[in-house]
């Protein structure tokens, strides 16, 4: 295997991905191509298979069918932990913090991936948070709760820790499943700004989110799915004005706005 150092045109490619649970076809022939340094968004009604697609991409559920490529290399038979080492990080739709670690330690866990064996120094001596950790805490506004325990956080705060943990890994590709659920407008705005800043720094992102306004403002490209398959794809404006999307997803309110 020789690695020709030509940058692949896409960070992530998913082709014809299907995930079936018995008769339930959670994802059924969906795919997308995410170029580096772009934010792509997935829209779709509840139960359309968005989270399942993310789980498939991160190898947490087995593929029924399909092909997955990271930087042009197939990875759909590799175990999930290898992906993190290749620069892929994600958050989950539900809050999944470790209850016996403080906010800071939860974030540090994210950064540990870049230090796979763990420096001997940090076993024996002090375990100072690395630059990446401090930066992630800073950017998500968690400075004041860095020493709090997860159970003491409000829902919205807990979500930010999830994002910080993913950022601390300094990933090249970030997958976010409803990162702003439970936040109010101005809080969402902050998250949106953060994501755009990260994009400008070169981080490719794939976001699942139901706040359409935010998605339109944030994403470079939208993909709409329903019943596990693709419905529409294109620039945010194109997608939100697509009749099928309006019908199945946006409802009358958005239609009147747009």
């Amino acid at each position: 295997m020789t690695t020709t150092e030509t940058a692949a045109p896409y960070v992530l490619e998913a082709e014809d991905v299907a995930v079936h649970y018995g008769g339930i076809k959670a994802v059924d022939g969906f795919g997308l191509r995410l170029p580096p340094g772009k934010i792509y968004g997935i829209l779709g009604p509840n139960g359309s298979g968005k989270s399942t697609f993310l789980a498939a991409v991160t190898r947490l559920v087995p593929l029924t069918r399909g092909r997955l490529l990271l930087d042009g290399k197939e990875y759909h038979s590799e175990p999930p932990m290898k992906l993190a080492r290749k620069g892929l990080a994600r958050t989950f739709q539900t809050v999944r913090l470790l209850p016996e670690l403080t906010v800071l330690q939860n974030v540090q866990l994210g950064a540990d991936i870049n230090d796979p064996r763990g420096r001997l120094r940090s076993w024996l001596g002090r375990d100072r948070p690395s630059e990446a950790v401090e930066e992630a805490i800073e950017r998500t506004g968690l400075g004041d709760v860095r020493n709090a325990w997860p159970t003491e956080l409000s829902y919205g705060m807990a979500r930010r820790v999830e994002i910080a943990r993913a950022l601390a890994a300094r990933p090249r590709l970030l997958l976010l499943d409803e990162p702003t659920a439970g936040m109010n407008h101005s809080e969402r705005q902050e998250v949106s700004e953060l994501m755009q800043k990260l994009r400008d720094e070169g981080l490719a992102q794939l976001i699942v989110e139901h706040d359409v306004q935010m998605m339109v403002d944030t994403c470079d490209h939208l993909v709409a799915m329903n019943f596990g398959s693709l419905v529409a794809e294109g620039s945010p404006q194109e997608v939100v004005s697509h009749p099928a999307v309006q019908e199945a997803y946006l409802g009358k309110r958005w239609r009147s706005h747009a």
Binding site: L60, E100, L101, L109, D112, P116, R119, D127, D144
Partner: protein, 314 residues
């Protein structure tokens, strides 16, 4: 002092052996693996060491070393077999493992001495040797209770799937836990067999499992110190209670009940939280500061709502 030491040498040694036994349950528990296989390894180790000593008259460290290696390998292979099991189903499979080892020992004919067990395993193992092994083990485990290793262990226990997505080899960690548990259990069993010079199949029973679990839960399940505290309590408690005469077992049970109720994080957890209270540092961060009363209503509200003044959030 010397007199006390000599008179209680058996209990002092037993404390350290129970410490290792407790650790053999605690190590897998810390990574979320509910396995009692360590108690089976205790039996494997005891028999291996006794057989080597009686038949081949090898030095103690060789006998113990061989026992540890053998049980580690068995522990590793066992982890491959039970890879799909979890929770109490796994616990049951490991209990079966322990009981099967006991039955094998009973039916092992000449090799294991049958129901009689083996006796006359005289060796050169000293109390100092036992303590030295325990100190090394405790030091190594202490390293896993801080920094990045601690975080990884926490992650694997609480949320294996999350761990995988963060690049932690959950399967490897699990296998490692079984292997280490095997080594620790075997080490305890081997040293016990050599110090007591005997081993018999009745020793490896359900009660040993219960004892190991109780030591860990009541001592504390997150740190080697918890295991040590548990070992001290459950080694010395019976002789302390002997003065209560006929009702000693009842008192023993009552103490376990009270500990289960009032020490949800084990004695270690209790001590730690007391210590933190004393130092005035609660588990929480600084309390929220009082609201700025005099602030102009409109402005204060705006800030608070928009989340601009984050220092107020906590």
């Amino acid at each position: 002092m010397i007199g006390w030491y000599e008179a209680n040498i058996v209990l002092i040694e037993a404390t350290f052996l129970n410490f290792l036994l407790a650790l053999s349950i605690q190590v897998p528990l810390r990574v979320g693996v509910f396995s009692f296989a360590g108690v089976g390894s205790y039996g494997l180790g005891a028999y291996t060491a006794a057989i080597l000593t009686i038949r081949y008259d090898v030095p103690a460290f060789v006998a113990i070393g061989a026992a540890v290696v053998f049980a580690s390998v068995v522990g590793y292979l066992f982890s491959l077999i039970v890879a799909r099991l979890n929770g109490l189903y796994l616990a049951m499979a490991t209990i079966a493992f322990v009981l099967i080892i006991s039955v094998l020992a009973t039916n092992g004919g000449e090799l294991t001495g049958g129901a009689n067990g083996l006796y006359g395993a005289l060796s050169d193992l000293t109390t100092g040797g036992v303590v030295a092994v325990c100190v090394v083990v405790a030091f190594l485990l202490a390293l896993t209770e801080r920094g990045p290793l601690r975080r990884r262990i926490e992650a694997v226990r609480e949320d294996p799937e999350l761990s995988m997505s963060m690049g932690i080899g959950v399967v490897t960690v699990r296998q490692l836990a079984f292997t280490v548990s095997g080594a620790l259990g075997a080490c305890a069993g081997a040293m016990n067999a050599l110090l007591r010079t005997t081993v018999s199949p009745e020793e490896i029973n359900f009660h040993l499992i219960v004892l190991a679990l109780t030591m860990v839960i009541i001592g504390g399940s997150r740190s080697w110190m918890g295991a040590f505290i548990g070992a001290v309590i459950f080694t010395w408690l019976p002789s302390m209670l002997a003065t209560t005469g006929r009702w000693q077992d009842v008192v023993y049970g009552l103490i376990i009940i009270l500990a289960a109720i009032f020490m949800p994080t084990g004695l270690l957890g209790l001590v730690q939280s007391l210590y933190q209270k004393l130092r005035g540092r609660s588990r929480t961060a600084a309390p929220a500061e009082p609201p700025a009363e005099e602030a102009v209503e409109e402005r204060a509200m705006l800030q608070a709502l928009s989340g601009e003044s984050k220092e107020g959030v906590r």
